[in-house]
Symmetry: C2
Subunit: 126 residues, 2 copies
DNA sequence: TGTCATTGAATGACGCGTCATATAGATTGA
DNA sequence: TCAATCTATATGACGCGTCATTCAATGACA
Protein backbone atom coordinates (compact mmCIF):
# COMPACT_ATOMS: atom_id res chain seq x y z
CA UNK A 1 0.00 0.00 0.00
CA UNK A 2 1.59 3.25 -1.07
CA UNK A 3 0.81 5.74 1.67
CA UNK A 4 1.25 9.48 1.27
CA UNK A 5 4.14 9.32 3.65
CA UNK A 6 5.78 6.72 1.47
CA UNK A 7 5.53 8.99 -1.52
CA UNK A 8 6.96 11.86 0.44
CA UNK A 9 9.88 9.73 1.56
CA UNK A 10 10.59 8.65 -1.98
CA UNK A 11 10.39 12.25 -3.14
CA UNK A 12 12.75 13.37 -0.43
CA UNK A 13 15.14 10.60 -1.30
CA UNK A 14 15.17 11.40 -4.99
CA UNK A 15 15.76 15.00 -4.18
CA UNK A 16 18.78 14.08 -2.08
CA UNK A 17 20.05 11.85 -4.85
CA UNK A 18 19.74 14.60 -7.41
CA UNK A 19 21.32 17.15 -5.19
CA UNK A 20 24.16 14.81 -4.47
CA UNK A 21 24.75 13.58 -8.00
CA UNK A 22 24.43 16.92 -9.70
CA UNK A 23 26.78 18.60 -7.29
CA UNK A 24 29.29 15.78 -7.20
CA UNK A 25 29.36 15.53 -10.98
CA UNK A 26 29.83 19.26 -11.40
CA UNK A 27 32.70 19.42 -8.93
CA UNK A 28 34.29 16.28 -10.25
CA UNK A 29 34.33 17.52 -13.83
CA UNK A 30 35.66 20.91 -12.89
CA UNK A 31 38.46 19.58 -10.71
CA UNK A 32 39.32 16.96 -13.28
CA UNK A 33 39.50 19.55 -16.03
CA UNK A 34 41.41 22.22 -14.17
CA UNK A 35 43.56 20.29 -11.72
CA UNK A 36 43.53 16.77 -12.98
CA UNK A 37 42.25 15.26 -9.75
CA UNK A 38 38.89 13.70 -8.97
CA UNK A 39 36.45 14.62 -6.26
CA UNK A 40 37.58 11.93 -3.84
CA UNK A 41 41.19 12.94 -4.27
CA UNK A 42 40.25 16.48 -3.45
CA UNK A 43 38.26 15.47 -0.42
CA UNK A 44 41.21 13.63 1.04
CA UNK A 45 43.50 16.53 0.23
CA UNK A 46 41.00 18.79 1.93
CA UNK A 47 40.89 16.65 5.05
CA UNK A 48 44.66 16.49 5.24
CA UNK A 49 44.90 20.22 4.74
CA UNK A 50 42.51 20.92 7.54
CA UNK A 51 44.26 18.66 10.06
CA UNK A 52 46.53 20.67 12.27
CA UNK A 53 48.13 18.08 14.49
CA UNK A 54 50.46 15.52 13.00
CA UNK A 55 48.73 12.59 14.62
CA UNK A 56 48.71 9.33 12.70
CA UNK A 57 46.03 10.03 10.21
CA UNK A 58 45.27 7.38 7.59
CA UNK A 59 42.97 5.84 10.13
CA UNK A 60 41.42 9.11 11.21
CA UNK A 61 40.75 10.02 7.61
CA UNK A 62 38.69 6.92 7.17
CA UNK A 63 36.46 8.08 9.96
CA UNK A 64 35.78 11.45 8.41
CA UNK A 65 34.67 10.20 5.08
CA UNK A 66 32.13 7.70 3.82
CA UNK A 67 34.93 6.03 1.87
CA UNK A 68 36.10 2.56 2.73
CA UNK A 69 39.50 2.02 4.27
CA UNK A 70 40.66 0.44 1.06
CA UNK A 71 39.24 3.26 -1.02
CA UNK A 72 41.16 5.75 1.08
CA UNK A 73 44.29 3.70 0.58
CA UNK A 74 43.88 3.80 -3.18
CA UNK A 75 43.02 7.46 -3.31
CA UNK A 76 46.17 8.15 -1.33
CA UNK A 77 48.09 5.97 -3.79
CA UNK A 78 47.04 8.26 -6.58
CA UNK A 79 47.71 11.42 -4.63
CA UNK A 80 51.14 10.15 -3.75
CA UNK A 81 51.88 9.17 -7.34
CA UNK A 82 50.82 12.65 -8.36
CA UNK A 83 53.28 14.05 -5.84
CA UNK A 84 50.67 15.88 -3.84
CA UNK A 85 50.95 14.00 -0.59
CA UNK A 86 53.45 11.78 1.14
CA UNK A 87 52.98 8.92 3.52
CA UNK A 88 55.09 9.11 6.64
CA UNK A 89 55.32 6.19 9.03
CA UNK A 90 54.46 6.89 12.61
CA UNK A 91 57.24 6.52 15.10
CA UNK A 92 54.99 5.49 17.96
CA UNK A 93 53.06 2.87 16.00
CA UNK A 94 54.81 1.59 12.97
CA UNK A 95 51.67 0.12 11.48
CA UNK A 96 50.22 3.59 11.15
CA UNK A 97 50.88 6.29 8.62
CA UNK A 98 50.16 9.90 8.59
CA UNK A 99 49.96 12.10 5.56
CA UNK A 100 51.66 15.32 4.69
CA UNK A 101 50.91 17.69 1.88
CA UNK A 102 53.86 18.34 -0.36
CA UNK A 103 54.49 21.83 -1.61
CA UNK A 104 52.70 20.96 -4.82
CA UNK A 105 49.87 19.47 -2.81
CA UNK A 106 49.44 22.55 -0.70
CA UNK A 107 49.48 24.79 -3.75
CA UNK A 108 47.02 22.70 -5.70
CA UNK A 109 44.75 22.39 -2.71
CA UNK A 110 44.45 26.07 -2.14
CA UNK A 111 43.57 26.71 -5.77
CA UNK A 112 41.22 23.77 -6.00
CA UNK A 113 39.50 24.70 -2.76
CA UNK A 114 38.39 28.00 -4.26
CA UNK A 115 36.83 26.17 -7.16
CA UNK A 116 35.32 23.60 -4.84
CA UNK A 117 33.67 26.15 -2.56
CA UNK A 118 32.39 28.11 -5.50
CA UNK A 119 30.73 25.07 -6.99
CA UNK A 120 29.26 24.08 -3.66
CA UNK A 121 27.80 27.53 -3.34
CA UNK A 122 26.45 27.41 -6.85
CA UNK A 123 24.89 23.99 -6.41
CA UNK A 124 23.79 23.95 -2.80
CA UNK A 125 23.15 27.54 -1.90
CA UNK A 126 20.83 27.71 -4.93
CA UNK B 1 40.80 32.49 2.61
CA UNK B 2 38.38 30.18 4.38
CA UNK B 3 35.32 32.22 5.15
CA UNK B 4 32.66 31.17 7.59
CA UNK B 5 30.33 30.67 4.69
CA UNK B 6 32.84 28.35 3.08
CA UNK B 7 32.96 26.23 6.19
CA UNK B 8 29.21 26.12 6.33
CA UNK B 9 29.03 25.02 2.73
CA UNK B 10 31.54 22.27 3.33
CA UNK B 11 29.64 21.16 6.40
CA UNK B 12 26.39 21.11 4.49
CA UNK B 13 28.00 19.14 1.70
CA UNK B 14 29.48 16.55 4.03
CA UNK B 15 26.16 16.18 5.68
CA UNK B 16 24.50 15.50 2.34
CA UNK B 17 27.20 13.01 1.48
CA UNK B 18 26.76 11.17 4.74
CA UNK B 19 23.04 11.16 4.47
CA UNK B 20 23.26 9.87 0.95
CA UNK B 21 25.92 7.25 1.49
CA UNK B 22 24.59 5.90 4.73
CA UNK B 23 21.09 5.56 3.39
CA UNK B 24 22.15 4.16 0.04
CA UNK B 25 24.43 1.61 1.66
CA UNK B 26 21.77 0.49 4.11
CA UNK B 27 19.17 0.01 1.41
CA UNK B 28 21.59 -1.62 -0.95
CA UNK B 29 22.71 -4.18 1.58
CA UNK B 30 19.20 -4.99 2.67
CA UNK B 31 17.88 -5.42 -0.86
CA UNK B 32 20.91 -7.41 -1.85
CA UNK B 33 20.52 -9.72 1.10
CA UNK B 34 16.79 -10.24 0.93
CA UNK B 35 15.99 -9.93 -2.75
CA UNK B 36 19.30 -10.28 -4.49
CA UNK B 37 19.06 -6.98 -6.35
CA UNK B 38 21.02 -3.80 -5.88
CA UNK B 39 19.71 -0.33 -5.20
CA UNK B 40 19.88 0.83 -8.81
CA UNK B 41 18.02 -2.23 -9.96
CA UNK B 42 15.32 -1.49 -7.46
CA UNK B 43 15.10 2.13 -8.48
CA UNK B 44 14.50 1.18 -12.08
CA UNK B 45 11.99 -1.42 -11.02
CA UNK B 46 10.32 1.23 -8.93
CA UNK B 47 10.14 3.67 -11.82
CA UNK B 48 8.72 1.05 -14.12
CA UNK B 49 6.19 0.03 -11.51
CA UNK B 50 4.99 3.57 -11.07
CA UNK B 51 4.54 4.25 -14.78
CA UNK B 52 0.97 3.78 -15.78
CA UNK B 53 0.96 4.39 -19.49
CA UNK B 54 2.80 2.05 -21.80
CA UNK B 55 4.68 4.80 -23.55
CA UNK B 56 8.16 3.96 -24.77
CA UNK B 57 10.09 4.22 -21.59
CA UNK B 58 13.79 3.40 -21.69
CA UNK B 59 14.32 6.99 -22.69
CA UNK B 60 11.91 8.41 -20.16
CA UNK B 61 13.57 6.39 -17.43
CA UNK B 62 16.86 8.04 -18.14
CA UNK B 63 15.27 11.37 -17.46
CA UNK B 64 13.96 10.41 -14.07
CA UNK B 65 17.19 9.15 -12.66
CA UNK B 66 20.69 10.53 -12.30
CA UNK B 67 21.95 7.39 -14.03
CA UNK B 68 23.56 7.58 -17.42
CA UNK B 69 21.79 6.17 -20.44
CA UNK B 70 24.30 3.39 -20.60
CA UNK B 71 23.96 2.67 -16.91
CA UNK B 72 20.23 2.32 -17.34
CA UNK B 73 20.81 -0.03 -20.22
CA UNK B 74 23.03 -2.26 -18.12
CA UNK B 75 20.76 -2.19 -15.12
CA UNK B 76 17.94 -3.29 -17.37
CA UNK B 77 20.20 -6.03 -18.73
CA UNK B 78 20.53 -7.44 -15.24
CA UNK B 79 16.86 -7.05 -14.46
CA UNK B 80 16.00 -8.81 -17.66
CA UNK B 81 18.49 -11.58 -16.98
CA UNK B 82 16.92 -11.98 -13.56
CA UNK B 83 13.53 -12.32 -15.23
CA UNK B 84 12.04 -9.31 -13.50
CA UNK B 85 11.46 -7.11 -16.50
CA UNK B 86 11.13 -7.52 -20.21
CA UNK B 87 12.03 -5.21 -23.03
CA UNK B 88 9.30 -4.74 -25.59
CA UNK B 89 9.99 -2.96 -28.81
CA UNK B 90 7.74 -0.03 -29.62
CA UNK B 91 5.54 -0.41 -32.64
CA UNK B 92 5.51 3.27 -33.46
CA UNK B 93 9.26 3.75 -33.19
CA UNK B 94 11.30 0.64 -33.51
CA UNK B 95 14.39 2.20 -32.02
CA UNK B 96 12.58 2.58 -28.74
CA UNK B 97 11.82 0.07 -26.07
CA UNK B 98 9.49 0.08 -23.23
CA UNK B 99 9.71 -2.06 -20.18
CA UNK B 100 7.21 -4.32 -18.56
CA UNK B 101 7.37 -5.94 -15.20
CA UNK B 102 7.07 -9.68 -15.33
CA UNK B 103 4.98 -11.47 -12.73
CA UNK B 104 8.14 -12.15 -10.76
CA UNK B 105 9.14 -8.53 -11.16
CA UNK B 106 5.87 -7.24 -9.86
CA UNK B 107 5.95 -9.59 -6.91
CA UNK B 108 9.50 -8.78 -5.99
CA UNK B 109 8.90 -5.10 -6.37
CA UNK B 110 6.00 -5.00 -4.02
CA UNK B 111 7.93 -6.85 -1.34
CA UNK B 112 11.09 -4.87 -1.87
CA UNK B 113 9.23 -1.58 -1.85
CA UNK B 114 8.09 -2.20 1.71
CA UNK B 115 11.67 -2.73 2.77
CA UNK B 116 12.80 0.26 0.76
CA UNK B 117 10.28 2.64 2.28
CA UNK B 118 11.00 1.36 5.75
CA UNK B 119 14.70 1.99 5.36
CA UNK B 120 14.10 5.43 3.91
CA UNK B 121 11.95 6.26 6.88
CA UNK B 122 14.53 4.94 9.27
CA UNK B 123 17.37 6.82 7.64
CA UNK B 124 15.78 10.04 6.49
CA UNK B 125 12.84 10.63 8.75
CA UNK B 126 15.22 10.13 11.70
C1' DT C 1 58.69 -14.28 27.07
C1' DG C 2 55.73 -16.85 23.98
C1' DT C 3 51.29 -17.43 22.08
C1' DC C 4 46.91 -15.59 20.39
C1' DA C 5 44.00 -12.07 19.16
C1' DT C 6 43.73 -7.44 17.37
C1' DT C 7 44.71 -3.50 14.58
C1' DG C 8 46.46 -0.34 10.56
C1' DA C 9 47.13 -0.58 6.09
C1' DA C 10 47.81 -2.76 1.29
C1' DT C 11 46.42 -5.77 -2.41
C1' DG C 12 43.93 -8.60 -6.03
C1' DA C 13 39.70 -10.13 -7.91
C1' DC C 14 35.51 -8.45 -9.11
C1' DG C 15 31.28 -5.62 -10.19
C1' DC C 16 29.44 -1.53 -11.76
C1' DG C 17 29.23 3.09 -13.88
C1' DT C 18 31.16 6.08 -17.54
C1' DC C 19 32.87 7.52 -21.76
C1' DA C 20 33.29 7.00 -26.51
C1' DT C 21 31.63 4.60 -30.01
C1' DA C 22 28.58 1.61 -32.92
C1' DT C 23 24.22 0.36 -34.97
C1' DA C 24 19.76 0.65 -36.58
C1' DG C 25 15.79 3.23 -37.22
C1' DA C 26 13.69 7.93 -38.05
C1' DT C 27 13.51 12.52 -40.05
C1' DT C 28 14.52 16.36 -43.01
C1' DG C 29 15.09 18.68 -47.28
C1' DA C 30 16.46 19.03 -51.99
C1' DT D 1 13.47 9.13 -52.95
C1' DC D 2 18.13 9.59 -51.45
C1' DA D 3 21.54 11.56 -48.77
C1' DA D 4 22.68 13.74 -44.46
C1' DT D 5 21.61 14.12 -39.91
C1' DC D 6 19.59 12.93 -35.71
C1' DT D 7 17.82 9.80 -32.15
C1' DA D 8 17.17 5.46 -29.09
C1' DT D 9 19.70 1.94 -27.40
C1' DA D 10 23.76 -1.30 -26.97
C1' DT D 11 28.52 -2.37 -26.26
C1' DG D 12 33.57 -2.57 -25.03
C1' DA D 13 37.41 -0.57 -22.76
C1' DC D 14 38.52 1.45 -18.71
C1' DG D 15 38.72 3.49 -13.90
C1' DC D 16 37.35 3.22 -9.39
C1' DG D 17 35.22 1.38 -5.15
C1' DT D 18 34.31 -2.87 -2.48
C1' DC D 19 35.05 -7.15 -0.40
C1' DA D 20 37.96 -10.58 1.31
C1' DT D 21 42.31 -11.46 2.36
C1' DT D 22 47.05 -10.69 3.68
C1' DC D 23 50.91 -8.84 6.23
C1' DA D 24 53.24 -6.63 9.72
C1' DA D 25 53.16 -4.55 14.15
C1' DT D 26 50.93 -4.26 18.67
C1' DG D 27 48.71 -5.69 22.82
C1' DA D 28 47.19 -9.03 26.38
C1' DC D 29 47.81 -12.47 29.26
C1' DA D 30 49.72 -16.69 30.97
Amino acid sequence: MATTQDRQLVEQWRSIQNSYFRTAAAIDRALEAKFDIGLNEFEILDLVAESVDSACRMKALGERTPMTQSAVSKVVDRLEKAGLVSRVTCSDDRRSLYLELTEAGRALHSDAAVEHRALLKENLGE
